[in-house]
Symmetry: C2
Subunit: 149 residues, 2 copies
């Protein structure tokens, strides 16, 4: 059976958000939150635009999803995010009790795995979905940024 | 020489925020951000009111302080918070490059020390300021909550 709504399908939607971030000069990270194959939140990094270190894609996606659901817990939800979450975002995901996190590229330096940030025991993690695409977009961003400076 | 603006002075202001949280049924945590003895942000926990796990006092204080300063980094700022920050808030403080964090009560279970969340290397930490008062308010909150349920 063909499954039209697989992890790649939703990661592509997160990648579209990352590209929107790229286009506005933000570090290109995008995220969507999904429940029952339905996207209930879309967000991308806005730290430069908002002058706010807390405006990571995941943080906004968590807030938007909770707002949509009318409750603060994201049980039953999956977050798709193009880059491995940092300490802050993993800490927020811990509080949200989200059921699943799917991320693309690994962040060797500041990702929650290196930092050993604790997720909720009920949270499942899948990594490496569309890793190449997410990683390439990040590299392209930093190369262009260097060339402009 | 008498120093009117010491850590206790600003922690009292954070405690007033914690009391405001208590009065609105929120876990009583309050925070202020200070630059050159001037309070530039005040906030208290709003997770219940906003249905948002990211609405911790510290997160709002970071956003408000950056907004006041017109830049996302909080170099030169001190955060006073009545409870030891969690992973999420410590992760946000890491990104903010804040110069100093002063907290009151210890959070043995979910505080950043137990969780080993990494702060920015330039961030100084002071703990235990008005610890008893902050801790008592927390205990009172949970006792009242239990009695109501």
């Amino acid at each position: 059976m063909i499954e039209p709504f697989d992890d790649s399908y939703f990661m592509k939607k997160a990648m579209q958000e990352a590209e929107a971030a790229f286009d506005s000069g933000e570090i290109p990270v995008g995220a969507v939150v999904v429940v029952d194959n339905r996207i209930i939140a879309r967000a991308h990094n806005l730290t430069e635009t908002l002058n706010d270190v807390t405006a990571h894609a995941e943080m906004q996606a968590i807030t938007a999803a909770a707002n949509f659901l009318g409750g603060k817990y994201l049980t039953g939800c999956t977050l798709y995010v193009t880059l491995e979450p940092c300490q802050m975002c993993a800490g927020a995901l811990y509080w949200s009790q989200i059921s699943k996190i799917v991320y693309g590229a690994t962040d060797e330096n500041r990702g929650f795995k290196t930092m050993r940030t604790k997720l909720h025991p009920k949270t499942e993690v899948v990594s490496g979905v569309m890793e190449q695409e997410a990683s390439s977009l990040m590299k392209r961003f930093f190369i262009e940024k260097r060339n402009l400076n």
